[in-house]
């Protein structure tokens, strides 16, 4: 685990270059529980070591690979280097290559709701190759691309594909939280970085 990812007190302050008492610090501290629990979510997602007693969670390597992929799908973010830092270099190269294949603007996709058919937007649906990463991690990246880019196309079949690749029900909940949390974290960093820039 890198020095940065879970170093107290706060990853977002680190990547945004926030210092105590500055304008962005004041903004963040106006909702103190949101600030603290954004960091607490990160801790909950990454602090658990592999092989912890009774744990039904993806491995740390899987969590970091998914995180690197998800942040990578969002283009430039100072968070990318943080998640990539702890990844095995070979896996990191593979994930970086897959980001380049998979990246595209979103959200898009076909609506389930008949009344929204006119708003459906077709586009290439990316699925991870299994040869480089194995079926479990490939299934996770395929699901992550679905959630990031075309969440409206989510389906029970997508969950069945994860189960078939060896993900337990509890692990699917954790994976879903991981991907979804990162889409929030990337946007908070992007938004506050712009607010900071607009003040200088």
């Amino acid at each position: 685990m890198s020095a940065t990812l879970l170093t107290p007190p706060d990853l977002l302050d680190d990547v945004l270059g926030v210092s105590e008492g500055d304008a962005i610090d004041a903004v963040r501290r106006s909702r103190p529980a949101a600030r603290e629990n954004t960091q607490a979510t990160l801790t909950a997602l990454f602090a658990l070591e592999d092989g912890a007693d009774g744990a039904d969670v993806p491995t740390l390597a899987e969590r970091l690979a998914v995180a690197t992929f998800v942040v990578g799908l969002h283009g430039e973010s100072p968070l990318l280097a943080v998640y990539a830092a702890d990844l095995d270099p070979e896996v990191r190269d593979v994930v970086t290559g897959l980001v380049a294949q998979a990246v595209r603007p979103g959200p898009f996709g076909v609506y389930r709701e008949p009344g929204l058919a006119e708003e459906s937007v077709e586009g290439p649906r990316w699925a991870a190759p299994t040869d480089a990463l194995g079926p479990r991690l490939a299934a996770a990246l395929t699901h992550a691309a679905l959630l990031v880019q075309r969440p409206r196309e989510s389906s029970p079949q997508a969950l069945a594909a994860l189960l078939a690749a060896g993900w337990s029900r509890t692990e699917i909940v954790t994976l879903s939280q991981l991907v979804a949390f990162l889409t929030y974290q990337v946007r908070v960093v992007a938004g506050l970085a712009v607010l900071k820039e607009s003040r200088s």
């Binding site: 603290e36 979510t41 283009g75 959200p107 594909a161 189960l163 509890t170 879903s176 979804a180």
Partner: protein, 220 residues
Amino acid sequence: MSTAHVAGDGSLATAPEVTTYPELDRPEHFTRANLGWVPWLEPPTAEELTEEQYVGLVDRRRDSSPYFRLLALDPAVLAARTKADIDIFHTSSRDGDGLPRPERELAAAVASRVNGCVFCASVHARFSAQLSHREADIDLLLAEGVESAAGALDPRWSAILNAAEALTVTPPRFGTEHVASLRSVGLSDEAIGDLVSSAGFFSWANRLMLSLGEPENPAS
């Protein structure tokens, strides 16, 4: 309720843990109606929840919701997420210079509209309409989408709609022009921070609600 089981290739059979609802009465549009939500993975029952999982719910009464019981399978993440949610949205008694609650709910509805989460949009459109008393404006957002609504509404809501949309798309397009536009309609830095949090939080919430189950119409 009738259920069936589907395997990864879409064929019926081998993955007993996934539930589908062939007869579900599904909404067909974005709506302010009080929709239900059904899970595709079976949540623990309230009786099966451990004390640790109850702590994850934060408010024990959330054990009536299949969504929160399912998320309780990872109680540490759920607890932190719930506490962040409450601070981002349920703090109207201390708005201070922050964004008024109806407009935080508006940002949540915009994110949900852009991502295509009919369930989340229904909840937060309803909250925003109730708190702002601007039902017609909210219904315009739901029926016509962000771009049309932003073109038709007053400058303040238009700026909020455009900014929330820019925060929701991938990659985010939120830029200094959005900040300038929000400032010009009276938003403080704290209020802009609230907008970033409330729109951003729904990128998280939408993806959970959309990917773990689906909405159903209220019983008529």
